[in-house]
Symmetry: T
Subunit: 71 residues, 12 copies
């Protein structure tokens, strides 16, 4: 935790199963293209309703990752 | 998604099991009397404690639904 | 619910399993030293990421309890 | 406090006398048409001024009540 | 502006033309079923995008109206 | 309520008696130097404590008044 | 943009035509008595309703201007 | 007001009479166990409703007090 | 609306004409480099003033778009 | 701290050196024309960037001062 | 960072020198009586003014520390 | 300041020395890969504590830069 710089990216995960599943999918997908993810913060929990039932949870996250210096 | 008008109703779902269960009960109960529910947004997550344990989750939702014109 | 006074303490529960588990651990641990816990309110949902996966959920709570008069 | 569902309605009480009087009038009027009111939360305290004096306090409330299942 | 009580309803107007058009449609539609509308407050301005262009503005309003006593 | 312009001034009223008294003093004092005060909004309610008792309520207000054109 | 000091004044513009018209009227009126206006920020968009139609938009602005040193 | 350190404790006062009475009870009770209380700030005003009437005001306070160094 | 992941980018559109024009320019410019834009949310409405007149509206947007999996 | 009335003015200090320097310049400049300044509160910390470096810190303050009665 | 529980305490540090000095004094004083402090978050930056100059910075902090289980 | 479009990126600078140093490092690192940085806004000031002392300041920034059209 030296004098690092971090960047924050915002993503929205969505899942028909649970809030945690939406978060985990959003983190996993982000990890495919961004290295060194460090933490997340939930900023919004929403969802879609179809036929009077919750169809999808949609969870907005701010995800922080280490910003490596340009070599 | 033409030039529709939507209305928002606020409900609090409560469940001894989980946050998702509280949300789903609130949506299901609202669907008994309101048609064409479209989305929800969580505004507050609270709960009651009894004997040092979580007794109930209480989740506040804003639920949006289509406002049909008066025929 | 007569003219009681309540106090509020802030805790952060953490769990590798779920948001509810983090809340329940925080409540249980607080109950070890504080009597008459009454309610909680979630103020923040965050987490740590390791190897591109959610490692821990960290849930911040405000917990209210009855403030008994000094005998 | 079993697995109940609550609804929230928003009202603005107004009184030339005091903030409490504005709240109490808003609650009393709401109770004329809605049963099982349970709690309120003040969201805004405003007022009108006439001739350099407070003419009316206007207090915005969110009022929660039990949402009974459809029989 | 005597000791009246007001109620607040939340609606979302939508328009492909402008923010004002979305507001005016929401007010007009609400006026079809609610009497004595008095004021509104914009709480959210959002929209949908299709083919890289704004398809609809969606404006959330809180609309206040006089709550007449039950006769 | 034609196409008027209003200005807003911020004041803090203080009173050892009540919240309403602090508001009314702030409005009365402002009215000594500003004409056509129209409304107020409470933004903060604080106070000083001395010897374990409330010594003063301090209420922050935004006060709106008509901005007359320069003649 | 050297080491200047700026002041902020709060105004509410009102217009029966549009949100932009309310903003522009508020800025123009403020410019009659304050020099070197530099920027504005919308803090609130409200309005009055009469006969089920938007009668006036009321837009609250914070307006910044250069604070010249006393000569 | 030298280079002192202050601590903040959160309490909820409750009263069937008035908002001020709830504040004063919360301050008085806190003063029984904490010395050198200096100020408070209201963060929330809520209440319970029974039989269509306000049963209790519940006012949440942050109370600041001087943090004396360990001797 | 299956289990998709969305990303959010923040842009500020600016226009000398109107708030809608600033939004539409920001969306059009973003669409030049990002595919599958889905929605936007206004987070801030500001502007520059020159010679006592609104010179530019500056509207901050959060724009959401589909995050396609890496093939 | 008797039943005084306070007024609040908003200023933005700017400095190429530090946040504290921006605050102190804003306070000093305000003190040239306003007597009996009592406290300040930082509401925003921003800055300008030129050539990839911080050019100026810009700190927004609310400054409170005693409102003397008209003699 | 296993399944630990953290507690949060709120303190206000004050310093005539700088914001950082106020933070560091608050942390140091808290560390005299609380073990295993882990992080802090600034919630408010205020100050006192005397003779038209900043007399003290007052910085409010939430400080998190590990909540050890009762042995 | 013609009809430009700006983008906003979020970064967290960290420094063991001061808040300004954390901001300046975050700006300098961002300038290595992004051209035409224009302004920043502090959204959060946090820090890590080790051995009862501030180990690092961590300052979250939103940084705005000009979005050049695609050539």
């Amino acid at each position: 935790m030296d004098d690092n710089i971090y960047k924050i990216t915002e993503v929205v995960g969505s899942s028909s199963k649970s809030i945690e599943d939406a978060i985990e999918k959003a983190v996993a997908r982000t990890a495919e293209t961004v290295k060194d993810l460090g933490w997340f913060e939930v900023t919004d929990t929403r969802g879609h309703i179809a036929d009077g039932k919750v169809a999808h949870y949609q969870v907005s996250l701010r995800i922080g990752f280490t910003h490596h210096p340009t070599a």
